[in-house]
C-alpha cells in the first residue's frame, strides 16, 4: 500500500467507522476500490472493533520492564506444589507443578486464568478439553479454583518442540513431516466429531514431544459448534494467527471445519517448501486475504522447484499431494476448501502409502458413504453421538426409528441403516462451512442442510423420509425454531403414504399439536390434537391417544375452558386405565393432571381427594418410601395449605421430608421444598420458632445445591426473612434476606410477586433510614403487591409496609387506615397466626 492509497482508505475509514458491521460491509461492497484495498479496509475496520491498543498497553509496557513478583510460586494447590512459571499469555499464566502426595509421579502444568481474561472463556476451555480424549490432544487432569477464587486447569505436562522447529532441528524427512501433520489432522478430526473447532492451528500449537508424539495444544479459543454463547463470538474473533487463518476467519465470516483444514494445509505446505502457499517471501501477512481470495495457491511442485528442495516421494505422490493441498487451500470464486478433517487425514495417509487419493476418485458424499461402509460400527456410534449433542430427545426418537427399521424386512434393513447413517454423517461433512453465530443458528444450519437433502435423496422411500422429517422437526422444536418445525411437519403430513403406515399420521399430528402449543397457538393446537386423538382412537393406539388428550387439557386450560379441560383429563385417565399392559406411572400422571385441573378450577376438595388417592395408590404399588409418593405428598400438602388445613399439610410435608431423607440421603435438594412448606405450615399455626428452624435448613440446602444466585435459594431466603421479621427479629431477617431481592429481580423480573415481596421486605427492613429517599421504590412495590391477584399475605405486607413507612416519615396514621389494616389482619387470622400476632402487636404499639 502506498501513502496515497492509505490516505484514500483513511477517508473511507473515517466515513465508515461509526457504522455497524453490516452497514460497513454493504458500504464497502459499493465502493469502487481494487479488491486488495477493499480487503485492507475491512481488516482496518475489524481492528477498530477489536481495539487491542486502547487499554492495557501501558500495563503491558510496565510488565515488560519488570515482571511483578509472583505470589503463586511455592503455593500449594490441592496435591500440587507450584514450582516455576512456564509462560504467560493473554489468556493466562502457566506454571510447572509437581504432585506432592506421591500418588502420581511426575510433573503437571497448571494454567490460571489471566486477570484480564474472560473467565467464561477459560472455563469453557476446561469443559472442551474434558470432552476431548485423544492421544494427540494434551490431557486435562484436573480443574478447580484457587483460594483467591482464580480458576485453574491442571494439564498433562509436555516437553518438546513446536512442529516447525522440531522438523528443522532434526532434518526430518518429507514423509515424516507429512505423517506428523496427518497425526495433527487425526487429533483435530476427533475434536470435529465432537463438534469442536480449534480455530488457531499453527506450528506453535503443534508440539512434538521428546518421544516423537504429536500433540495439538491450546484449545483456548476453540469453540463448540453447538455453543450457545453467541455474544462471545465478538471477543473470540480477535485471537487467531493471520498467517494460518483462512480468509473466512479474517473477514469475520462463519468459520467451520474447512477453516481448520486450511490452517493445517498451510502448515504442511510450509514444512515441505519453506514458504507460504499464498504469500511471497517477506510479504506482509495482511495482504494474505486478498491474495487468497483472488489467486490460486502456489503449487507444491513450483514451490519446491523455486526453493530447490528435492522431492523424494515420486511423481504420483507429488501430484496427489498437490491436488489435496490445493483443494484445502483454494478460496474465492465460490471455493470453500476441504470440509472433512478426517478425509484430509486419510488422504495424507493415502499419500504416505502411495494409494490413490479418495479425493480424485469420487465426490464428497459418496466418499463419506464408502468410508461409512468400511467403518460401519464407528460411523453408527458417531452419528448417534453427534445427534445427541444437538438434542437429546432427537436421539430418543432416533432410537425409536431404528427399532422400527429393525421390524422391516431383512433385505431392506442394512440398506436403510446405511442410508440413515450416511444421511446424518452427510449433515456434518458436506463441503460447506458449518459454524454460525451461536447454538440455534449453528445447529439450524446443519438442520437446514439436512432438510434440503431429505427431499433430494430420499424421494424414493416416502416412509423413511417422513420418519426422518419427524425427527428433524423434533430437533427444530427442541431448539425453539417452532415455525420451521411446524412447516416440516406439514410437509411430512402431505407425503402420501400407504394405508399400513397410517399410525405415522397420528404421531405427526400429535407432534404438530405440541409445536403449536409451544407457540401458545392454542385453538390450532387443539384442532390438530383432536384429530390426532380421533385417529389414535380408531387405531386403538392408546399411548398416542392419552398423550393427545393430555396436551388438549393444557390447551383448554390456557383457553380458560376449565369445563372442557376436566372431561378431557378424565378421559385421559380412563384411557390410561384401559391400557394393556398398563403403564402405572402414566396412569398416576394422568391422575395428577386431573387433580391439577381441579385445583385450577378452585375445586380444592376434589383436587385433595385425587392427590390423596394417587398417594395411596403409589403407597400400595411401590411402598411407603417411593420417591414418586414424596412428590405427590408435596402436591397434596400444598392443596391442604390453601384449604387452611395447616396441620394436615404439616403431617404430609413431614412424611415427604422423611421419604427424601430415606431414599435420597440427608440434605438432598428434594427435601428442601417440603421443608419450606412445613415452615409455612408451622408459621400459620403459630409455631414460629419451629418454622424458622425448618426454613433455615431449606435455605441451607438450596444454597448448597443451587448456589446463592439461584431463584429457589432466593425465594427460600425471602420466606425465612419474612418469618424472622414477623417474629420481631429484624436484624436476623436482614441477614437472611441477603441478596434475595436482587436475585429475584434479575431472574423473575420486576412485576413478579416474589420480587415485589422481597423488595418490599427489604424496604421495610431498611426503615427508617431509607424512608424519605426510596419513594419511587415504595410506590412500585406497593402497587405491585396491591394487585388483587396477589395473595392476601402480600397485600397485607404492602399495606403494613406503607403504614410503617408513614410512621417512619412521622406522618400521622389516620384512624381509618389503622382500622382497615386491623380488619385485614383479622381476616388473615385463620391463615397465618404468626402474621396476625405480629400485626396485633404493631397495632397495639402504634
Amino acid at each position: 500500500m502506498t501513502p496515497d492509497q492509505f490516505a484514500q482508505l483513511r477517508a473511507h475509514f473515517d466515513a465508515l467507522c461509526e457504522l455497524d458491521p453490516a452497514a460497513q460491509d454493504q458500504a464497502i461492497a459499493d465502493l469502487s476500490l481494487p479488491e486488495h484495498l477493499r480487503v485492507q479496509l475491512r481488516v482496518w475496520l475489524q481492528g477498530d472493533r477489536d481495539d487491542r491498543v486502547q487499554t492495557g498497553v501501558l500495563d503491558q509496557l510496565a510488565e515488560s520492564i519488570e515482571p511483578v513478583a509472583d505470589a503463586r510460586l511455592g503455593q500449594r494447590l490441592g496435591p500440587y506444589r507450584i514450582e516455576s512459571l512456564l509462560g504467560a499469555g493473554g489468556m493466562g499464566r502457566v506454571y510447572l507443578a509437581s504432585r506432592e502426595d506421591g500418588r502420581y509421579q511426575g510433573q503437571v502444568a497448571i494454567k490460571f486464568a489471566g486477570e484480564g481474561a474472560d473467565r467464561r472463556f477459560f472455563l469453557r476451555e476446561g469443559r472442551l478439553l474434558a470432552r476431548l480424549q485423544h492421544p494427540g490432544i494434551a490431557r486435562l487432569l484436573d480443574a478447580g479454583e484457587a483460594d483467591d477464587g482464580c480458576p485453574y486447569l491442571v494439564m498433562e505436562y509436555l516437553q518438546g518442540q513446536p512442529l516447525d522447529r522440531h522438523c528443522a532441528d532434526r532434518q526430518v524427512s518429507a514423509a515424516e513431516r507429512i505423517a506428523l501433520v496427518r497425526d495433527a489432522a487425526l487429533a483435530v478430526a476427533h475434536a470435529h466429531t465432537l463438534l469442536v473447532l480449534h480455530r488457531d492451528l499453527k506450528p506453535a500449537n503443534l508440539l512434538v514431544t521428546d518421544d516423537g508424539q504429536l500433540k495439538v495444544l491450546d484449545f483456548g479459543i476453540a469453540k463448540p459448534i453447538d455453543d450457545d454463547s453467541a455474544r462471545e463470538e465478538v471477543t473470540t474473533a480477535r485471537y487467531f494467527t493471520l498467517r494460518y487463518a483462512a480468509p473466512e476467519q479474517v473477514l469475520g465470516e462463519p468459520v467451520g471445519t474447512a477453516t481448520d483444514v486450511y490452517a493445517l494445509a498451510v502448515v504442511l505446505f510450509e514444512l515441505l517448501t519453506g514458504r507460504h502457499p499464498y504469500l511471497p517471501e517477506g510479504a506482509d501477512a495482511r495482504s494474505l486475504v486478498s491474495q487468497a481470495l483472488t489467486r490460486q495457491p502456489l503449487s507444491l511442485r513450483r514451490a519446491l522447484q523455486a526453493a530447490k528442495r528435492p522431492w523424494p516421494l515420486g511423481e504420483a505422490r507429488l501430484r496427489d499431494l498437490d491436488a489435496l493441498l490445493e483443494k484445502a487451500l483454494l478460496r474465492g470464486d465460490g471455493a470453500v476448501g476441504h470440509a472433512s478433517m478426517a478425509a484430509f487425514a486419510e488422504d495424507l495417509q493415502a499419500v504416505l502409502e502411495d494409494r490413490p487419493l479418495s479425493l480424485r476418485r469420487t465426490p464428497m458424499i459418496e466418499r463419506t458413504w464408502r468410508w461409512l461402509r468400511r467403518h460401519r460400527l464407528a460411523a453408527a456410534s458417531m452419528t448417534l453421538g453427534v445427534l445427541g449433542l444437538l438434542v437429546g430427545s432427537a436421539v430418543a426418537l432416533w432410537q425409536a426409528q431404528l427399532a422400527r427399521v429393525e421390524r422391516d424386512s431383512a433385505l431392506h434393513e442394512a440398506e436403510r441403516a446405511e442410508r440413515i447413517a450416511g444421511f446424518l454423517t452427510g449433515m456434518f461433512t458436506a463441503p460447506r462451512p458449518i459454524e454460525n453465530q451461536g447454538a440455534p443458528l449453528a445447529a439450524s444450519e446443519l438442520l437446514d442442510r439436512a432438510r434440503e437433502r431429505l427431499q433430494d435423496e430420499l424421494a424414493d422411500d416416502p416412509l423413511l423420509r417422513v420418519q426422518l422429517t419427524a425427527t428433524l422437526a423434533e430437533t427444530y422444536r427442541a431448539l425453539g425454531l417452532y415455525e420451521t418445525a411446524e412447516q416440516l411437519l406439514i410437509e411430512a403430513l402431505a407425503v402420501p403414504l400407504p394405508d399400513s403406515d397410517a399410525p405415522q399420521r397420528s404421531g405427526l399430528l400429535l407432534q404438530l399439536g405440541r409445536v403449536l402449543s409451544f407457540q401458545a397457538r392454542w385453538p390450532e393446537a387443539d384442532a390438530q390434537l383432536r384429530e390426532a386423538a380421533e385417529l389414535a382412537r380408531q387405531q386403538g393406539d392408546l399411548a398416542t391417544l392419552a398423550q393427545a388428550l393430555g396436551l388438549r387439557v393444557t390447551a383448554q386450560l390456557n383457553l380458560q375452558q376449565l369445563d372442557a379441560a376436566e372431561p378431557l383429563a378424565r378421559e385421559a385417565l380412563s384411557v390410561q386405565q384401559a391400557r394393556q399392559p398398563p403403564d402405572p406411572q402414566a396412569l398416576r400422571q394422568a391422575e395428577q393432571v386431573l387433580a391439577a385441573v381441579a385445583m385450577q378450577r378452585g375445586d380444592l376438595a376434589s383436587a385433595r381427594q385425587t392427590y390423596q388417592q394417587s398417594a395411596d395408590r403409589i403407597r400400595a404399588d411401590l411402598g411407603d418410601d417411593a420417591v414418586e409418593r414424596q412428590m405427590t405428598l408435596n402436591n397434596l400438602a400444598a392443596v391442604e395449605l390453601r384449604m387452611d388445613l395447616p396441620e394436615a399439610a404439616a403431617a404430609n410435608y413431614r412424611e415427604s421430608i422423611r421419604i427424601a431423607r430415606v431414599r435420597l440421603g440427608p440434605d438432598h435438594r428434594d427435601q428442601a421444598l417440603p421443608q419450606l412448606g412445613l415452615g409455612m405450615a408451622l408459621r400459620v399455626v403459630g409455631s414460629t420458632e419451629d418454622a424458622i428452624a425448618q426454613l433455615r435448613e431449606a435455605v441451607q440446602i438450596y444454597r448448597q445445591w443451587d448456589g446463592v444466585d439461584h431463584p429457589a435459594t432466593a425465594y427460600a431466603q425471602l420466606l425465612l426473612a419474612e418469618t424472622l421479621w414477623l417474629s420481631a427479629q429484624a436484624e436476623q431477617a436482614r441477614e437472611a434476606l441477603g441478596t434475595a431481592p436482587k436475585v429475584l429481580y434479575e431472574r423473575n423480573g420486576p412485576r413478579n410477586g416474589q420480587t415485589c415481596r422481597a423488595s418490599m421486605l427489604q424496604l421495610v427492613l431498611s426503615l427508617p433510614t431509607s424512608a424519605p429517599a426510596d419513594a419511587e421504590a415504595w410506590d412500585a412495590a406497593v402497587s405491585c403487591l396491591a394487585d388483587p391477584a396477589a395473595p392476601a399475605a402480600m397485600q397485607l405486607l404492602a399495606a403494613w409496609g406503607s403504614q410503617q413507612r408513614q410512621a417512619a416519615l412521622a406522618a400521622p396514621i389516620s384512624p381509618g387506615e389503622r382500622d382497615a389494616l386491623a380488619a385485614q389482619g383479622d381476616a388473615m387470622q385463620p391463615r397465618d397466626a404468626t402474621l396476625h400476632a405480629a400485626l396485633q402487636l404493631w397495632l397495639e404499639t402504634h
Binding site: 491498543v53 510496565a62 499469555g89 480477535r238
Partner: protein, 187 residues
Amino acid sequence: MSSNADITAQLNADSLALPGETYAALRRLAQQQLSQHRQSPTLNATALVNEAWLKLTPEGSNWHSRGHFMATMARVMRHVMIDHARERSAQRRGGDAQRVTLQGVDLAAADDGPGLLDLLALDQAMQRLGALDARLERVLELRLFAGLSIEETAQALGVSEPTIKRDLRAARAFVSAELGQGSELPE
C-alpha cells in the same frame, strides 16, 4: 542543554532525529526514571514524563511548549523501552539450548517473558503506520508512551482536538489490525 531550540525546530519539522547530545541526555533521564519505577507494580507513563519535564526544564527554559517536550520524550521513552525489550529478548535466547514448550501458552511469550514480543510487535506496527502516515504514528506515540490527553496531543501537534480524536481512532484500529497477525495483547 544548549540545543533545546534545535529540538523544537526539529519537532516542528515533524522529525525527531535529535542531535546526539540532547538525545543522550534525555535517554539517560528516561532510563533513570524507568529504573526508579521498576519497584512499583505498574508503570505510570504520564507521571514519568511529568517528572522528566520538571527535572529537565529549569525556569526560563526555552522549550517552546510543554507539548513539544512531551512529543520528544515520548519518542525517547519508546526507544528506551524497545531497546530494553530487545536486550532481554537476546539474553533469553542465548544459552538456553533446550526449549520447553507447553499447551496454552503463547510460545513466544513463554520464551521471552511476558510482554516483550508484544512490545516489539507494537513498535513495528507503529513504524509501518508511520511509513504511511507520519502524523498518525506520532499521535499514537504521544498517547501510549507519554500518556498525553487528547487536548495535550492537540496542543503538541498544533491541530484541533476532533482531528486528534479521529486520528487516534484510525491509528489504533490500524495497529490493532496489525497486531492481529499473531501476538496477543490482553484486553
